[in-house]
Amino acid sequence: GVPPCINSTAQTNWLNRGDVRKALHIPATLPPWDICSDAVGEEYHVLYSTVKDVYLKLLSLGLRALVYNGDTDMACNFLGDQWFVEDLGIKETSKYKIWIYDDQVSGFYEQFGNITFLTVKGAGHMVPQWAPGPALQMFQTFLTNGSY
């Protein structure tokens, strides 16, 4: 299965080449690669309708968290994730404000203790693909616990 509106032909063709499979140590007995698995998707059982409790446990352990959203996505839209983070009930420690990449506003963010909610302006579902520069800066900032 291929996700709607996504063109994965090139990578599918490349990954299915015999010499690529050999280089990646893929057994010859395995079926061709595809971006999504019908067998898994059709037999998958969803157990969690929300991961709120899981987040609260993780944050209580002192872990750092970042929830980011390309703000033109409609499969998992930014507003739903913003509401999710706000609904965790953690006191806001940083107001909603802009962040900058390459001298331009790249989105907005707000912080609640050790969790940050951040938007990537103009990007869709696959943020690193459609906003690669801002995504890399965001990634590095999170890893180093820096300021957005």
């Binding site: 709607p4 998707g41 899981v54 968290a65 970042l66 929830v67 998992c76 839209n77 739903g80």
Partner: protein
């Protein structure tokens, strides 16, 4: 490092990488083997963090993350040659891509049974992670983070909890989710507002949604018991998903519209599950015909 898995040469790679990479298998549950692809940092591999990347679905491959999103190289349109991604996340981190669960991509199970659930996926991924650090013991001291996208909104926190509370010695520091599914209710509920305030719904539909799904206490677009509300929400969801818009990026063209598999819709059935059953079967024909007239 696990020498047998090292990738020394890749077809279509015309440049010399300044990082090392390994591809092979990590043992998960009984008879399950998850394919991984590990690339070291271009900066300082022994000091930089190790980051696990998981795509969503459920049932979609993290190699899409590697080859289209944040990996060090992507595939040209010819499907044969590769080009460098200057914004690769391995500029600052050692990146581990895991095809999960078994049955996805090149991951497999000996018995070829691929029925699974959220908790089993988390358990298998945790086991695979331990298998990774057995193969790559030099990286156990590096800081470790888990990143994911889409249905990774479920995969990432559930795996993170196992890593944070489990026995394995992993220097776990944090996690991140991009465009993730965190709450079915909030995802559905917010989409109606997103659609209206991006100009996807007209005033008539917005009025009908409000009249049929809202009361003094608020609106319920997620699981209303009102049939008339369900009808209006269906119309709204049809506009978002069936009118020809790119649901993953509102302002981008929809590529390969005719080619996508309906099986993928089944794999994405976590989205709007209260409405999916009727999404294609109701008689609404507005978006397609109206898009013609609008154009």
């Amino acid at each position: 490092q696990y020498a047998p898995d090292e990738v020394t040469d890749l077809p279509g790679m015309t440049f010399k990488p300044n990082y090392r990479q390994w591809s092979g298998y990590l043992k998960a549950g009984q008879g399950k083997f998850l394919h991984y692809w590990f690339v070291t940092s271009q900066h300082d591999p022994m000091k930089d963090p190790v980051v696990l990347w998981l795509n969503g679905g459920p049932g979609c491959s993290s190699l899409d993350g590697f080859l289209s999103e944040n990996g060090p190289f992507h595939v040209n349109n010819d499907g044969a040659t590769l080009y460098e991604n200057v914004f690769s996340w391995n500029k600052y981190a050692n990146m581990l891509y895991l095809e999960s669960p078994a049955g996805v991509g090149y991951s497999y199970s000996d018995d070829q049974k691929y029925e699974t659930d959220d908790d089993k996926v988390a358990a298998d991924n945790y086991q695979a992670l331990q298998s990774f650090f057995v193969k790559f013991p030099n990286f156990t001291r590096n800081e470790f983070f888990i990143f994911g996208e889409s249905y990774g909104g479920i995969y990432v926190p559930t795996l993170s909890l196992r890593v944070a509370t489990g026995q394995a010695k992993i220097n776990f520091k944090g996690f991140s989710v991009g465009n993730g599914l965190s709450s079915f209710a909030l995802n559905d509920e917010s989409l109606i507002y997103f659609g209206y305030y991006h100009g996807l719904f007209g005033e008539d539909l917005w009025r009908d949604l409000n009249n049929n799904c809202c009361n003094k206490e608020g609106c319920n677009f997620y699981n209303s018991s009102s049939d008339s509300c369900k009808t209006q929400v269906n119309i709204a969801f049809n506009i978002v998903y069936q009118s020809g818009l790119n649901e993953y990026s509102l302002y981008l063209d929809c590529e390969g519209r005719r080619g996508f598999s309906k099986a993928y819709e089944k794999s994405m059935s976590h989205l709007f599950r209260n409405y999916r059953k009727t999404l294609h079967t109701n008689q609404f024909s507005g978006p397609r015909s109206s898009s013609v007239s609008l154009s």
